[in-house]
């Protein structure tokens, strides 16, 4: 399976994603330059973390208009898998691929920490190798990660089981202490209606080896392989 990793000016997790795909998964990966219009026949698109366009205006607001995003949107519309991680989640929201928005952390500080998330739905393209309510350890590193949406949108996400990850404590409790940024309902990751676009603030690609403190992110990528192979 071929993964296409978009490099925007200011992306800084593109190599982490490349490493996870090629070295950990053993799959093929290519970098896709933001000015190109060619996904190079990639099966899965990753919008990586970073500070695209210096976070000018709003995080992700300018990257959304990068030429390659037209092809990414078409890929998503036709059911192709897209993973937006951190800045990639912000870009996916700005592009309308996912509902809601990411705002300044409620405590105003940049947060760089290993956090826990609880898997809320293990029936998705991205989570089928996890157990429901399994606790994962993954790092976060962001200043604008507070997920917000109207209460109607939030209720819709909940009712459709589209909230995929929630910040939780070690016992799986969902509470304010476990919430690193003030996200509504502790939401850390969601999918679109079609179930093929995932957006999440934590970094699964940086949790792919015991060397960096956690391997819990590996199965997210393996889930895609498992679903497509099935």
């Amino acid at each position: 399976m071929k993964f296409g990793i978009v490099t925007f000016p200011g992306s800084n997790c593109d190599y982490d994603a490349y490493h996870a795909v090629t070295e950990i998964l053993g799959e093929e990966a290519v970098y896709l330059w933001h000015k190109d219009h060619d996904l190079q026949a990639s099966d899965v698109i990753i919008l990586p973390g970073g500070f695209s366009y210096g976070d000018y205006l709003r995080a992700g607001a300018i990257a959304r208009f990068s030429p390659i995003m037209q092809e990414v949107a078409a890929h998503a519309k036709s059911g192709g898998p897209v993973i937006g991680i951190c800045n990639g989640f912000q870009i996916a929201c700005e592009a309308g691929l996912l509902p809601g928005a990411l705002m300044r952390n409620s405590h105003l500080q940049f947060v760089s920490a290993q956090v826990r998330v609880r898997v809320e739905n293990s029936g998705t393209l991205f989570t089928n190798l996890y157990e429901t309510h399994e606790i994962l350890r993954v790092p976060v590193a962001h200043g604008e990660g507070r997920y917000v949406a109207s209460s109607e949108v939030l209720d819709g996400l909940e009712n459709d089981a589209r909230v995929i990850f929630r910040y939780a404590d070690a016992k799986g409790n969902i509470n304010a202490d476990a919430n690193p940024n003030g996200s509504e309902r502790n939401i850390a990751g969601i999918i679109n209606e079609g179930g093929n676009v995932l957006g999440m603030m934590p970094h699964p690609e940086r949790a792919c080896s015991p060397l960096v403190g956690s391997s819990d992110g590996v199965r997210l990528f393996e889930s895609i392989l498992a679903r497509v192979a099935a």
Binding site: A101, M103, N105, S106
Partner: protein, 85 residues
């Protein structure tokens, strides 16, 4: 075509948590400005554009706000009247 200058005020949507405004409000209280009730921090954007007339320029800037300058989920915007530049 004439040149116009249009200013846009973009502010956090009313009712949404505005931690930046809260932090500035707290700082003002510390400075002794106890009467301050609320502070909201937003952006001020100045657009200079060619247009046939002021109305057309304002309509264009409204469209720009909807598509790029403001996030419809989290922000409100107000456009000042176009002035000849």
């Amino acid at each position: 075509m004439s040149k116009f200058r249009i200013a846009v005020h973009i502010t956090p949507r009313k009712g949404l948590l505005d931690p930046q405004g809260k932090a500035v409000s707290d700082a003002l209280h510390t400075l002794g400005f106890k009467a301050v009730k609320n502070v909201h921090v937003g952006r001020y954007v100045i657009i200079e554009t060619d247009s046939y007339d002021a109305i057309t320029a304002e309509e264009a800037v409204t469209e720009m706000c909807g598509k790029l300058l403001a996030n419809p989920v989290t922000e409100d915007f107000e456009i000042e009247s176009a002035v000849s530049a």
